[in-house]
Symmetry: C2
Subunit: 458 residues, 2 copies
């Protein structure tokens, strides 16, 4: 699997100079993504493709081939697989569709034929019917979407059963400034399924968070068994669609998988230590926090807010999601009472609004709450106002120096261009993880704690 | 109330050139917001403020004063109110805090004193303890946040009990490209409460959607009675926080209002035809759709997707939220079957992916679904891929010509810079309303239908 995701050489079988062909887009992805290894276009009808010398077949390629990306029509795939096996190719990304998922029984036969070839030669295969995969740490864009090369590097690995969801999450991540280690489109899982990926990622030092998008799988047991072994070592979060009747039926038809009761799936996920998430947005939000924040030791949250309203929205979500808006220790409470006038919310949530003009008071409040043993995590909510324009700058050093000794999840929001750079700087320094609404920040804190419980009951 | 929100002249009582004073920021908001009427700074200690001739008091101002924005300390407010009454001021925005919401019983006495003055003089007062209000159609930024002038004009009016939530929603709207008619911060509601605002907005031709943010109110009955009269004429959507214990207690303390069971509130909202929403994000998403889309006649939804995964995520939300993924009529289904290969999802949801290279097929599918009598609304989900780069351009004319004869809610997403202008153009032309995830698009469609049911049972 290591050679599959970190190849020294990549052959594109079905490479093309014709923009109407997927082999064109794959070549563009590879050549434009900064990949430093050898790229060999393979096409019997061309001598050069995108300026690179082309081979007529894998068999005649010079040197070793670690990874073959295959984009030829389905009926030609068995022959290509045999050539790959003979050549000693160490991994295959099979983009071609038209196997098990089509109505024609010939598709299932072809699927079995190529599976036998790959398994006998011990070649792991991503696909068929996949958009490909991207390993951003290797600058390897082995997909038909060149734009994936624009993704930031990060520590989240997404393993997805849907190309559409991979594209959705990838584009969302670009807009949210979230980076990935890898995105792997499993497609119809010839011999690499979720279980094999989770097993591989368990030992991948560059992956801190494993994110799964699941529609319906035959080998659910293999996944949960593998996840159970991993429990507590690395967070695994999953989003499974098909909770409704229509989605379930569509999933069956689309992926060639068995139907499965959504509840049975999610129940078994929980037992295996996989945190189940119910939307793409929360999936990315939670992955971002798990990759950039510690996990709370308990459910006790402090809500420090620049305004009362957002803190109430956050408190509602906290309470609904199993967090506790803790009572501060007496020392903390006395310190806050000294720093805020009586008309403010001073217990928890704390409305720091009345102190905006006094940087030392704001710092004093945050510091004492950081030190409070009852507090397992802090939600910091600040809406810009003229009175607090400089307040974020005033607490930057404090937040950086603390460096999330406990999770610090924030919703710091201003009109575009005012605080964006400061927030990004705080995120990059590891001081906090920021979200666009108080509710999303609170939900993420709740998910951190849900994972904390999973980890502690390992 | 009309003069309050559309004044010909505005006095700022407590205007200042000192950036440490709210009177400075109010002046900046007014002068920088493009307001075309007369602005009179009032401050006994200055002759000019921000280049404008200042008056020493309201009494000696030349000409009539329609609106007075008051930012003097609480104890001076009764005298200012008496002057305003004598001068014939027609509306007041009272930014000053320190009345009913403070522990000191003196605050409640002051509150009653100024309420009596205002009521006797028949002056509607926004506040006290408010950030102010903005009427974007009058270029009137009567708030202490100059940045609100950057908001786009639109047809949504937000009436909010929290300045923090007003700022949050305003800044979110700037980032989402959503415009407002007005944002009104009610504060502690001296004599203008939700009921008065809803009553006023019912006849405001520039307000298409009324959005309420509520923490806790004494006069819930007045609101629901007013809303009931409005039922079906104009959508009212509300977000009430305080569903948890902490939020409820904080709300009582913060706003000086009675506690109230969250469920009783939301139940009475539903009976009064107010659509209750459970987060700031969904509040804005829903307001955007209600301002830019028709309301479906029934729960039947067609999901047209460029990829299978996102359509499943959308179907799950649709089914959970009470929409129906309808069965197409035979004619529609036959047309789609002619245009898509058997391996695609062809019933509903429809996976248009295999037809991306064939613009006429995509158009044919969309057109036949538009014409299907079983379909009350369309969800269009398109994730960018190299194969469909030109597909959005290919359907633009069709979508514009149809002009949302039924709601067309979309999630059309690409890497930044590829489709953004096209999507914005489609939104501005009224062809669709776009959201960043399939689940949010589906939830909005469900809320449109929930409002449709409210309207039809008027």
């Amino acid at each position: 699997m290591k050679a599959l995701f970190n190849p020294s050489s990549v052959a594109v079988i079905g490479a093309s100079d014709n923009p109407g062909k997927l082999g064109f887009h794959v070549m563009k992805s590879l050549t434009g993504g900064g990949y430093a290894g050898r790229i060999i276009p393979v096409n019997p009808g061309a001598t050069r493709i995108m300026g690179l010398k082309a081979s007529s077949s894998v068999s005649v390629c010079e040197g070793e081939i670690d990874l073959a990306i295959v984009v030829v029509p389905a009926k030609r795939v068995p022959a290509v697989f045999r050539e790959c096996a003979a050549k000693g190719v160490r991994g295959i990304v099979l983009i071609t569709a038209g196997f098990k998922e089509i109505d024609d029984p010939g598709g299932a036969d072809l699927h079995k034929e190529i599976a036998d070839i790959a398994n006998e030669a011990n070649i792991p295969v991503i696909g068929p019917n996949t958009f490909g995969m991207i390993n951003l740490h290797a600058d390897l864009n082995a997909s038909f979407t060149p734009e994936f090369s624009r993704l930031q590097k990060g520590t989240i690995t997404l393993v997805s059963q849907s190309g559409g969801i991979s594209h959705l999450l990838g584009f969302m991540a670009m807009r949210m400034g979230i980076g990935f280690r890898m995105i792997v489109g499993l497609g119809n899982r010839l011999n690499v399924d979720f279980a094999q990926m989770v097993d591989f990622l368990a030992d991948d030092p560059d992956t801190k968070v494993v994110v799964l998008y699941i529609e319906g799988i035959d080998a659910a047991r293999a996944l949960t068994d593998t996840a159970r072994k991993l429990r507590g070592r690395k967070p695994i979060i999953a989003y499974k669609t098909g909770s409704g009747q229509v989605g379930d039926a569509a999933s069956r038809s689309h992926t060639g998988s068995m139907a499965g009761s959504h509840k049975i799936y999610t129940g078994s996920f929980t037992q295996a230590g996989i945190l189940h998430i119910d939307s793409t947005e929360t999936l990315l939000d939670t992955a971002k926090a798990l990759s950039a924040s510690p996990v709370p030791d308990g459910p006790g949250v402090a809500v420090l807010s620049g305004q009362a309203g957002p803190s109430m929205a956050a408190c509602d979500v906290c309470e609904a999601e199993g967090l506790k808006i803790v009572r501060f220790t007496d020392i903390t409470q006395e310190t806050i009472n000294d720093l805020l006038p009586p008309l403010a919310l001073r217990s928890n949530p704390v409305d720091m609004g009345p102190a905006w003009y006094d940087a030392s008071a704001i710092k004093g409040i945050i510091q004492t709450v950081m030190d409070d043993d009852n507090v397992n995590g802090i939600l910091l909510l600040m809406m810009f106002a003229s009175a607090n324009r400089d307040a974020l700058g005033g607490i930057t050093d404090l937040l950086k120096a603390w460096g999330q000794q406990k999770p610090l999840i924030s919703c710091i929001l201003a009109p575009p261009g005012i605080w964006d750079d400061q927030v990004k700087d705080l995120e990059l320094s590891g001081a906090l993880v920021n979200y666009p609404t108080p509710e999303r920040a609170a939900k993420v804190m709740a998910n951190l704690w849900k994972y904390g419980k999973i980890r502690s009951t390992q």
